[in-house]
Symmetry: C4
């Protein structure tokens, strides 16, 4: 799991979702009340499986030579309250964060967005770092939507998945649709997709797309 | 053809037209009612000639270890109805998809656009995946235009060519002009090019540009 | 000179000024009425010094296995009428071409623009390819300005320099300032720089910047 | 220090903050009234520790084979008047320079901005190169703000830090937030962060983030 989580961080760099040391990926260790997460303030170039740290579901450091990510409490809160989640990603990616700075959900106007997010990408509350406020805002917002991504007001984006890889995919797709819908709206009105079509696209994508054994 | 189609996928990555596993290229096998296409939901990093799959013109899998792209029906419809087409490309590239989300054709205001597209890049209908609706919308729209690219409303872009490489070129140029015209329009009105000048540019480019033996 | 001109094409790719086979660099052969230019429609990956072609100042092919760039007539016109020019570059770079699609000069609101261009980047006329119209439009526009770059309406940008490298630098800086001024204007009015300050910046940069022996 | 300063220049290239030879990094030599800075007008590809030059705090060349950066006087002025500064960076990065071209400070509407800049990124005066005007404008503006970055009107951005690396980090984060806030503002109003929350975020980030021994 340390190796997997470490390798997935390079996808954040490849897709331009992070600057300097911002952003982080975590993954739940299957069958244990533990998760692996990025150390705090370490350069992406310097990440190796050995620098990854292990925390319990209260966010306490259990194993590792570094202090855990300053967003660890938010990851831990999600793992505590959503047992189906196996991976969490956080970034300040440009377009998603821009919607978040206006406190505005991203409307579902692209079939790729219906596929992956099943509707709008919702906006969560403003919350200060350092306690359970971010985690609670995330879980409360996720419960009302099919979207695996939540924009946190004035902050950035968190995504979840059954695996860390699925959460990274959601982070990549979130920025991609945040950018495309932004660009579309710059020159006029976008055409909404009817709810029944969103449902049809979401159902098909979740059940038919990709190879049988993996998503 | 598997090797050619596989290699062309890396051009989609190089030009930033695709995110994660979205997008696909196909190529007709000369002299046979078959075409090669990308497998569904496989990472661009993992594509090799052996992972490419072969389908018949009804979109049925004929050869290959993977399920074909979920857009296979649209590719097959084009090959069935347009015998002159040897390659098809589909992407959700940002700027082309943004025009598509507004349901707006891209006006011909650049000489490079007159060269390659012979006029505006048209907009096709909203259509759900899973049957012949996308293919039919594409073919109907292509018939009324010289453009090898069609924007599908709320979806993305499909391009055609005599070869898969020509279709990839059209996809690259489509995003390039979609971006430039978008940027131009952000700060005011663009100057149209007179139809007679569009015709002159298109004729010259299709017949004179490049080396004699290839386009 | 073939080696120099070939190598400079990779700068156009590095700075994202060109898509597919668009764009070209040429360089006058010192002491001769000849210049080296890119072959027409050849991929940037496939350019080698041997693929470069040599033309006379009327744009006729003198040496080389390929047809010369379709913009050769415009380059030749500049070399014929401006003996001080040793290099010419042409691109359809996004932001410069966007200003060109509106037929609008780029105002001088950045000190880096005063340094390199000595004022606005002017707009030249709409002109069809295939004769001397583009070249004449370029030379006429260059004569009224200090700028080594001209935006050709609905088309793209041409830059000149004492050497091919200086022309490439002007093409890179032109796109850079076209982008920054575009972005600045998106959210309101830009502050002009007083003409006397533009003169002071231009004079200093042309005479003091860089190492003594080279620019 | 020459090695450190040389290596940090590649971060400016990696994050796309500089075009051609623009931009520069300097670092104070601990315990001496000297600093290391980039030579003027040398390509980023050609920078090696040996090409770096050493200047005294009046900006005079003390050691090195090249003329120092044309921005050396501004760096020297900062080192003379702000003894706590160990590194200075200057760029014309696109989004920061766009705010500067409008003469507009960047409002603090992102938690990442509160973390790093402790409030708005302020705008300094228009000042001509060649004397102490730029340096004076910078130091005067820095004194009224917690921000390690200042936008100089019509020019670009300067950042400071306790080390050259911290100044480079500030330059990277400045462009990142300049871009995100720009994008946010394009589609409407951004939500301000309350001053008490900005204070809480800034205090926490400056004191808790990262590993104990380094920032």
């Amino acid at each position: 799991m340390k190796k997997t989580v470490c390798a997935l961080h390079s996808e954040l760099v490849r897709y331009g979702l992070v600057a300097w040391t911002a952003g982080n990926v975590s993954g739940r260790i299957p069958g244990e009340d533990l998760f692996v997460i990025k150390p705090s303030g370490v350069s992406y170039d310097d990440l190796t499986p050995d620098t990854m740290v292990v925390c319990d579901l209260d966010g306490n450091l259990v194993e590792g030579d570094y202090a855990p990510s300053s967003d660890t409490a938010a990851h831990a809160y999600i793992y505590r309250h959503m047992p189906e989640v196996g991976g969490v990603v956080h970034t300040h990616s440009t377009y998603a964060s821009a919607w978040a700075a206006r406190g505005e959900a991203i409307p579902c106007v692209l079939t790729a967005m219906a596929d992956e997010f099943g509707g709008e990408i919702p906006i969560g509350p403003f919350a200060l770092i350092g306690g359970d406020d971010i985690g609670r805002g995330l879980v409360d917002t996720l419960k009302g939507h099919r979207s695996p991504a939540v924009l946190m007001q004035n902050h950035g984006v968190f995504t979840i998945g059954a695996t860390p890889k699925a959460a990274v995919k959601a982070a990549v797709m979130c920025e991609d649709v945040a950018r495309t819908v932004h660009v579309a709206r710059q020159l006029g009105s976008v055409i909404p997709i009817e709810p029944k079509h969103i449902d049809a696209l979401y159902d098909r994508y979740q059940n038919v797309y990709g190879q049988r054994s993996s998503k």
